[in-house]
Symmetry: C2
Subunit: 203 residues, 2 copies
């Protein structure tokens, strides 16, 4: 059931081609997010995108291929959302706070991301693992920078990066995907998580 | 595709019945863990369990029903593993360390738990959500106790509970499920995570 082929995504040569490919990816996010991989269909994706069915194959070889491209695209979107939220912030703890707040806002606006990434565990395990390994490496780099800047202690590495990623993913699950009336807002959640990161739970 | 029915699990009246139900649940863990929900079959579960096919229905109404019972059973097993690891430990931070170390060892020995719980997101969303909400409540209770014992600061609540759960789940994903040669062992990982919890990443 997992995606076996490893062909590279097709790169459109024109702006118009890039726009059509973008439309197909956005439509695929809705389609896979609402219906799941197995129920999703290429014809429904092209219909949502307002693109002729035959054009689909100019951009993607198969449903598997667009799903795999979508996981990569969403990984990129998460990275961009965090980077935009970080902006010109340079203080290491403030960077983590901004990255989490940006992620929480992104996830609230793109709730389908959890279902799609989580379904990748079954449909495309290599992309699923790559998604998290890539984010963990990025966080580990930021922790190194935090140490270099004198704002974080030494000895922080892969364990702490995975711990921090897990915090962020589960805060998104609870407060973006399973949001409830009366919940704290993204800034408050990021602030509480940042206090945990800055000084732990100790007195 | 999600499980709609909400019948209660059947409770065997005899020790022998309970043993057979246990065998079926253990076989279902292997079957769902290896093949996934959709490919799994009742006949393969009974074959693995060494139980006659017809007997299955004495204990479960359907494949959906045994999957749902298995998610509940695994939630209980995670709770028991953490509780056993905590043992007579009472210092709040030591309790968290022991609970994580116990969970990491449990997950390494029952790697199928991630696939089954994660597939519940698609097959049985209510059980998936209930699994994490229940754990988060348990962690929030421990944080309250930590505060009452004077070992943790005030203001810790649901946000910190979900953050801590996410840390533990992702450390299990990386170090129990995706274990690599040369990784730190469960005690070292729990120790690093506990330092993060105790004092954060600050200098």
């Amino acid at each position: 059931m997992s995606i076996e082929t490893a062909e590279k995504p097709k790169i459109p040569r024109t702006d118009r081609g890039r726009r059509t490919q973008r439309k197909l990816l956005d439509a695929a996010a809705k389609e896979f997010g609402e219906r799941g991989f197995h129920e999703a269909s290429i014809s429904s994706i092209t219909r949502r995108a307002g693109v002729a069915l035959g054009s689909f194959y100019t951009y993607f070889d198969s449903k598997d291929a667009i799903f795999r491209a979508l996981v990569v695209d969403m990984s990129e979107a998460v990275k961009t959302a965090a980077r935009d939220a970080i902006g010109t912030e340079t203080a290491p703890l403030a960077v983590e706070r901004a990255a989490l707040e940006g992620f929480l806002r992104f996830a609230a606006e793109h709730k389908e991301i959890y279902r799609i990434i989580d379904e990748a565990e079954f449909v495309d395990p290599a992309s699923y693992r790559n998604h998290y390994e890539t984010i963990a490496e990025r966080i580990a780099d930021r922790l190194s920078q935090g140490r270099a800047a004198g704002a974080m202690r030494s000895g922080l590495g892969e364990v702490e990066a995975w711990a921090l990623m897990g915090m962020n993913v589960f805060l998104g699950l609870r407060y973006a995907i399973w949001a409830r009336d009366g919940d704290p807002d993204a800034a408050e959640i990021a602030s509480a998580a940042n206090a945990l990161l800055a000084r732990g739970v100790g007195k």
